[in-house]
């Protein structure tokens, strides 16, 4: 992940800013600029998600690529936000704690960094609620 690419998505990464189609009342996170139901008839507006939801499925990563290898083992999950959409995120908890259906809420954490002299990537993770 390079700097301009990360910066572009900061609103979504820091604050769970996604979108909502006002035409069909569907929420999107990650944000979509084209509604998958209404397509060009859709009316897309920015929407900030509350940041609470539940774990739909999960894993604990023991073997990770370079950027994440110092953090292993870490819990990864698909979280269904209360507004509907699902996203992939880390859950900050002991691997034995995470369960399907567990309620979670968003927190602000470091996602990674570009080595000791590069930028630090911050973003959203979840903790048991």
């Amino acid at each position: 992940m390079n700097v301009p690419r990360f910066c572009r998505e900061i609103p979504s990464r820091y604050n769970l800013i996604g979108t909502k189609c006002e035409n069909c009342d569907t929420y999107y996170f990650p944000p979509r600029r084209v509604c998958i139901t209404c397509r060009r008839k859709g009316v897309i507006r920015e929407y900030q998600f509350e940041g609470s939801g539940k774990v739909v499925t999960h894993t604990t990563i023991y073997s990770a690529p370079e950027n994440f290898s110092k953090m292993t083992p870490y819990v990864l999950a698909i979280v269904e936000l209360d507004e509907g959409p699902k996203l992939t995120a880390q859950i900050v908890c002991d691997p034995s704690e995470v369960k399907i259906g567990m309620r979670v809420k968003s927190v602000f954490r470091k996602l990674g960094e570009e080595g000791p002299d590069g930028v630090i990537y911050y973003g959203t993770k979840f903790i048991p609620a």
């Binding site: 820091y14 604050n15 110092k70 953090m71 900050v92 602000f108 470091k110 996602l111 630090i120 911050y122």
Partner: protein, 346 residues
């Protein structure tokens, strides 16, 4: 029109290490340490936490406690001696993470353990002069102590955020006073991982000289006496120093107790006195008067007097209290603690 704190928020990481565990590694007698320092355990950040994430969580907690939104905040100043970047502000990260950008003033402060109260004074000035409606001052740190250094027993992680404004004031800031000299009691050179300190020189010529002079200066300026206050909060690098200055100044241990969080938290540096103040606000009642003196090596102290208003009851239970944040910790052994603190270079 009164001016003061309109909301506050605190964040303390979940992890702790006990004095016994650090002493075990370095062959110290834990009872000597606990007796000497008056500290039993200290907070430790998670592997993905740093001063910026702690500052953001404290700032979000402050907004959650009040009805304010990020867009209402006209200035953010973050005081820390462990900013994640040497160049690149923590304040901008906080501003973005609470959606306060782009129309705001922002900068990072550094003045050892009192950078957070220096930020508070800046916000006070800007609000008083009507440049901004609300200013946010944050003191947050993931304090570094070199392995085997005495500092390692206390250097902790945590932060507090305060919003200063003129409406919905929960604690009026009556007055402030600072005492500053050029003193070499504690420092960290550019590019160094751990700070150095002057050993016993940090006591009398550092902490005591500046805290006593600062506190006396404000008592004199406001024509008050220690007994006029319900609570007193002093910078707490350990459990002994704040108790000692309190009794020297004529404050009772009862006045100090609620604001003394160091025993279970450790010294959260820029967060230290501000978390102590938050612990007081968590329980304060309308009309309570609070005296606070911070201290930063290098050296200086910032003193404040606060008068709690009727508004306090509306927000006290709207965000986690300091007591709640200190409850139910997860204890680490030294090896995992060393990993959390990047003491093992990977």
């Amino acid at each position: 029109m009164s001016i003061g704190i309109t909301t506050y928020g605190v964040y303390i990481p979940r992890y702790r290490i006990r004095v016994e565990e650090i002493a075990r590694v370095w062959g110290d007698d834990p009872n000597d340490i606990k007796k000497g320092l008056g500290v039993f355990e200290k907070s430790v950040p998670d592997r993905d936490e740093d001063t910026a994430t702690i500052a953001v969580e404290a700032a979000r907690s402050a907004l959650q406690r009040s009805g304010l939104a990020g867009v209402d905040i006209g200035a953010i100043y973050v005081g820390s001696e462990s900013h994640p970047y040497a160049v690149k502000p923590t304040a901008t990260i906080v501003a973005e993470a609470i959606r306060a950008t782009p129309e705001l003033m922002a900068a990072d402060y550094e003045f050892a353990c009192k950078a957070g109260t220096a930020a508070l004074q800046t916000c006070l000035g800007l609000v008083a002069a009507d440049y901004i409606k609300y200013g946010m001052a944050i003191g947050a740190d993931t304090a570094q102590g070199a392995p085997a250094d005495a500092l390692e027993y206390t250097a902790a992680a945590g932060g507090a955020a305060y919003v200063v404004g003129k409406s919905h004031v929960i604690a009026e800031i009556e007055d402030t006073y600072s005492f500053t000299t050029d003193t070499f009691d504690f420092w960290r050179r550019q590019g160094q991982q751990y700070p150095k300190h002057g050993g016993r020189f940090t006591g009398e010529p550092g902490y005591f000289k500046h805290v006593l002079a600062g506190a006396r200066g404000l008592l004199h300026k406001t024509r008050s006496k220690p007994e006029d206050f319900d609570f007193a909060v002093f910078h707490q690098p350990n459990g002994k120093f704040p108790r000692k200055v309190a009794s020297t100044l004529g404050f009772s241990q009862q006045q100090v107790k609620q604001g003394l969080v160091v025993e279970k938290l450790g010294n959260a540096y820029s967060g230290s006195s501000l978390i102590g103040l938050a612990s007081v606000l968590d329980v304060a009642e309308p009309g309570s008067r609070i005296f606070m003196t911070s201290f930063g090596s290098g050296a200086g102290s910032d003193s404040f007097t606060f008068r709690v208003t009727e508004e306090i009851g509306k927000i006290q239970d709207k965000a986690p209290s300091v007591a709640e944040l200190l409850a139910a910790p997860i204890y680490l052994d030294y090896a995992i603690y060393a990993k959390h603190k990047n003491k093992i270079v990977l």
